[in-house]
């Protein structure tokens, strides 16, 4: 087994959580890579859905956006966006909603809306897109995000999508019947919510990661499971699949862009 980066470990650990039977609503970025690695390794029959309307897509390269042509060309079928959100997400057919985050807290609440005050933001982020309803309508939610003190905060500035709120039975109290965030995979660890409090708890640390590094990258006092194991390192196959996917993606996206001279002629 060769060397690997924390990013690679994150993507591969996330990919392992998926199964052949999953119907996965894929957020862009890290979730997309993990879902496609799962498809290209242990779960060839996994159903990947992107919010642009593509159902059962099998891209050869990773999409740059949720609406890339490759997603439609390789999909079983492509539906309109209202249908996607009504029949497929709200209809309860999604087993896993897979989300990234700009900011999250220990209860899996996510913020991708603003840093600072909503009315006069310090940083205006893109907003929720599909996330608010992915978080409430998917049977469960997996999250993947790199750890940093900026991202892993005591309290999110804005509840873009609701995780476990203040913890405990907060979801049920709001009438939400789905499980919510059940897994968080970072570049350093794998976290799962405590059964009672719903606070995300570290269950495995990636190879070489120390508790000191963890503390420096998370803005709250971290809870560890009674037994914390080391994450199985990437296998040679997993690494090969991921790296080939990334290489194909890079080559394809360069190929589909025109040469540098374009910017002089017409922008």
């Amino acid at each position: 087994m060769s060397d690997f980066t924390p990013d690679e470990m994150m993507t591969i650990a996330a990919s392992r959580a998926l199964t052949n039977d999953d119907v996965c609503f894929v957020g862009i970025g890290a979730p997309s890579a993990a879902c496609n690695v799962a498809r290209l390794t242990h779960s060839p029959d996994i159903t990947l859905i992107y919010e642009s309307g593509t159902i059962g897509t099998a891209p050869d390269v990773l999409p740059l956006s949720i609406g890339d042509g490759e997603l439609c060309e390789t999909a079983l079928t492509t539906v309109s966006v209202p249908e996607m959100f009504r029949y497929w997400l709200q209809g309860g057919r999604i087993t896993i909603g897979f989300l990234g985050a700009a900011q999250l807290d220990r209860f899996g609440n996510i913020n991708t809306t603003v840093i600072g005050d909503y009315a006069s933001p310090k940083t205006r982020l893109p907003g929720g897109g599909g996330a608010p309803e992915i978080a409430s309508s998917s049977q469960q939610v997996y999250m993947t995000c790199k750890q940093s003190r900026r991202a892993f905060v005591q309290t999110v500035d804005f509840y873009t999508s609701f995780g476990h709120g203040d913890g405990g039975d907060h979801r049920q109290r709001l009438g939400i019947t789905t499980k919510g965030p059940t897994l968080l995979i970072t570049d350093m660890a794998v976290w799962q919510p405590d059964e009672e409090t719903k606070e995300f708890t570290v269950h495995s640390l990636h190879p070489g990661v120390t508790r000191e590094q963890m503390r420096d990258s998370v803005g709250w006092d971290i809870r560890y499971a009674d037994e914390v194991v080391e994450t199985e390192p990437p296998s040679a196959e997993e690494l090969t699949v991921l790296r080939e996917l990334k290489a194909r993606t890079k080559a394809a996206h360069e190929r589909s862009s025109r040469s540098g001279s374009r910017s002089q002629s017409d922008g």
Partner: protein, 284 residues
């Protein structure tokens, strides 16, 4: 339906202060139409779109936008919209009003607009912060189960612009691939303008494909390349480099102004055909 030049169609439909949807979900974004509106100088606009991207960054940077109704304001695959940020964070060149929703809410609101309803009802915003800051998110109670469901007003733009693969000579329009929310955005609008890559004798469309009858559309304009740097399924690819470059252009107020002057204000919709050179796909 009338066939018009894009210049005529914009002059005929857009007024200062009106609400416009330029729809397209990564695919088929009507860039040429948006640039024509910018050139003709209409201002004080309410811009509606699920995924405002470069086009809305440009409108906002030019100071033409009074209000933006949206659910995800990002540069797809790249990051943030720097002109939108500058307006939201620093009120430059002027403040903009924001009505922010989730994708599910926007999709349902367009659907309700197309369906002639005053509002949309769906299961959403559970625990979400937008409910606290957007007074247009209300609720209705299911009279059978008592469930509290989210309600948002139907979207009914004054004008919707979309780009499509082709129209036939009667002005019937065919969309293929990721069709997004465009059919709903057209049917929800008071007037719809469609730019197309080509005009053909016969759409040759399977009965179950997405076709807009000519009588649902105010104008059809032939603008080859009119989606660039977005793409057209089966015709040309996305110009990913342009999206990356935009991040640099939009990062600086002066660089933005210079770029807009050269590539929008002093250009015309005829220039789009050139911009897709090298991105075309072999006919399949």
């Amino acid at each position: 339906m009338a066939f018009m030049t894009l210049r005529e169609a914009v002059a005929d439909t857009v007024r200062d202060g009106c609400s416009i949807a330029f729809e397209g979900f990564t695919h088929l974004i009507p860039h040429a139409a948006a640039h024509e509106v910018m050139r003709q100088g209409m201002s004080d606009l309410t811009l509606i779109r699920m995924t405002p991207d470069i086009v809305y960054d440009q409108f906002v940077g030019l100071g033409r936008v009074k209000k933006m109704i949206f659910s995800y304001a990002g540069n797809p695959g790249v990051g943030l919209l720097r002109r939108v940020r500058d307006a939201a964070e620093n009120s430059w060149p002027k403040p903009i009003e924001i009505e922010e929703h989730s994708h599910a809410a926007m999709a349902n609101a367009y659907e309700a607009g197309a369906a002639g309803l005053p509002c949309a009802m769906f299961r959403g915003y559970l625990g979400a912060g937008l409910k606290e800051v957007n007074p247009n998110i209300k609720s209705v109670i299911c009279p059978f189960t008592g469930e509290d469901l989210a309600a948002v007003p139907a979207l009914k733009p004054d004008v919707t612009f979309i780009h499509a693969q082709r129209a036939d000579r009667a002005g019937n329009v065919l969309l293929e691939g990721i069709v997004g929310i465009q059919k709903e955005a057209v049917l929800a609008a008071r007037k719809a303008v469609v730019t197309v890559e080509e005009i053909v004798d016969d759409l040759s469309a399977h009965p179950n494909m997405t076709v807009l009858p000519h009588w649902t559309v105010h104008a059809v304009c032939k603008v080859p390349g009119g989606a660039h740097p977005s793409y057209v399924h089966g015709m040309y690819d996305r110009d990913n480099a342009a999206y990356l470059e935009w991040d640099k252009i939009a990062a600086d107020r002066q660089a933005f102004a210079d770029w807009m002057e050269e590539h929008v204000m002093r250009a015309s919709s005829d220039d789009f055909a050139k911009r897709i050179k090298g991105l075309e796909r072999a006919a399949s």
